[in-house]
Symmetry: C2
Subunit: 317 residues, 2 copies
């Protein structure tokens, strides 16, 4: 099994009762500044405030009843954890979320609000995976990996099917890159539905493991991804992601921390929506000039809006 358009279409049908069809926003001022037509797919307006609701719902609802009865477990720095907790509650099963102890308070509260049981661990992948493995061994719970999972990727790709319906023909789709699950789902959906479309992933320069892996054509990990885009600190360590990225993605572009904060504020100001730093990363590539989109129709996945409203980054500088 791999990931294809048919799997993403099946996911769309499976999760339709459990997620929102989010709006696509446009803005004349941003279009003028970019010299392009920008279509913002607002997954910050998705249930639980992030696209992760899609992948988690698809993975949880694709389980057989026997599998589901033993519950689900995942590890996540935030939005995916809330999404798995939410999907588990919707299916009426147990959901355990392994989180790093330094996860943002907003994201911890979000998981709790959906009834997820949190197990804290050290903030590194080894500790996360060990904690998950122990829970799987003890309970028989199904692991819903945040990105190295075809069902999760298929769910994430459903946002792009909607975007293509809502925005009409697009030349280019941009999304941020963290663990790579969204990028894989988005790329397979986009290239499957519109073979001529261009697909570019955007990554913080301070967490550029995917950009490095893409150029090296093999996995490169970086030790300390110190970016404000907390959703994108993950390395692409899965077995499944990098091969799909190398097959379906045209380029990976990186942006600075300053460009991310500036882009975040610009989108709040112009689109009148709350997005988290990770969601601003693709627009940062346009605004900073790192990516030339002149004359093109560009779809942009705005990934989430779970930000601490008391500590806005442009007020700290």
């Amino acid at each position: 099994m791999s990931l294809d358009l048919a799997a993403i279409r099946a996911a769309a049908a499976r999760i339709a009762p459990h997620v929102k069809r989010t709006p696509v926003l446009t803005n004349d001022a941003l279009d003028s500044a970019a010299g392009a037509q920008l279509f913002f797919k607002c997954e910050n307006l998705q249930a639980m405030g992030a696209f992760k609701a899609r992948g988690a719902a698809n993975a949880v609802f694709a389980l057989t009843d026997a599998e589901a009865a033993r519950g689900v477990v995942t590890h996540s720095s935030g939005n995916h954890g809330a999404a798995v907790a939410r999907a588990a509650r919707l299916r009426g099963i147990s959901g355990i979320i392994v989180m790093p102890h330094n996860a943002p308070q907003t994201k911890i509260r979000n998981v709790e609000s959906y009834g997820g049981k949190i197990v804290f661990c050290e903030p590194n992948l080894t500790a996360r995976e060990a904690a998950c493995a122990e829970i799987v061994a003890q309970t028989g719970a199904a692991l819903v990996h945040p990105f190295d999972d075809y069902a999760v990727m298929a769910g994430q790709g459903t946002a792009t099917l909607e975007l293509l319906e809502q925005a009409g023909p697009l030349d280019l789709i941009l999304c941020p890159v963290g663990g790579g699950g969204l990028l894989c789902g988005t790329a397979v959906a986009a290239k499957g539905a519109r073979p001529g479309i261009r697909m570019v992933g955007i990554e913080p320069a301070a967490a550029d493991d995917v950009a490095q892996s893409f150029r090296a054509k093999s996995p490169v990990s970086i030790a300390h991804a110190d970016t404000i885009a907390d959703g994108l600190r993950t390395n692409v360590t899965g077995q499944r992601n990098l091969p799909l990225i190398l097959q379906h993605v045209d380029d990976i572009v990186t942006v600075s921390e300053d460009a991310i904060v500036t882009a975040m504020r610009t989108l709040w100001q112009n689109l009148k929506i709350v997005i988290e730093p990770s969601a601003a990363v693709p627009f940062a590539a346009i605004q900073s000039g790192a990516l030339d989109v002149g004359g093109q129709r560009v779809g942009i996945i705005l990934t989430g809006g779970n930000v601490d409203l008391d500590t806005l980054p442009w007020l700290k500088r």
Copy 2:
């Protein structure tokens, strides 16, 4: 001539090329807390970030070519000014905006960004009206009054026609009350399209001229409306508004300043959208318990999102 459902339907057809059909958002957590089903009509996502785009577009595009050739003028503390400037530019005519010199910087920049010519005046209605009258006398420009104008009210009412289509049957519609133009347009649209619906206007207690006028059944003005909801400081001084309000509105409810700030933050946090204080006023009535909406399907007009992102009210307290 007065204001009726036919005029609002005509306005909807007239302005369709010039404004957005804004999304309606729902939120499970807010519904649970309210014990009701809430449908938020997101006019903060309207062109220029406020419902005022609708009324101004209708008034400007309803002018004959001969009238339009002499330009338009208005007075406004903010969003209506930007809306008239925008509509004038779309029609290719001159737009002059009289603004109080203490208007928020965000709203001044907004008017300028649409090519409006600003004339500053003292922050009181007498000064505003005198400045407008002088410009009308000099130029022959058409006055597009911010609220005491049936064409403006008809345009504002078009948001409610959309809301009723998008949300399905509603028991109650809430909107904030400033000068009363939105309330009149909303009430006439709602009662015209769904005769059994209940219509309630919500006002800051610190600017409760409409609540007082509603009870007295004649215009009551208050001298210093010191509310954070800067869009709602206006008194209902027009000839046309109070009679329509007395005819079509079921009640006027007031809320405290603290309730407005709390509601604003709650809506940013849960809906992931940027709204200005004025837009939070109706939800403040629900959240504070000033209005009982238990078990009802409630439509709420979120009026605008033009707020200064550097001075958020919950960070000042």
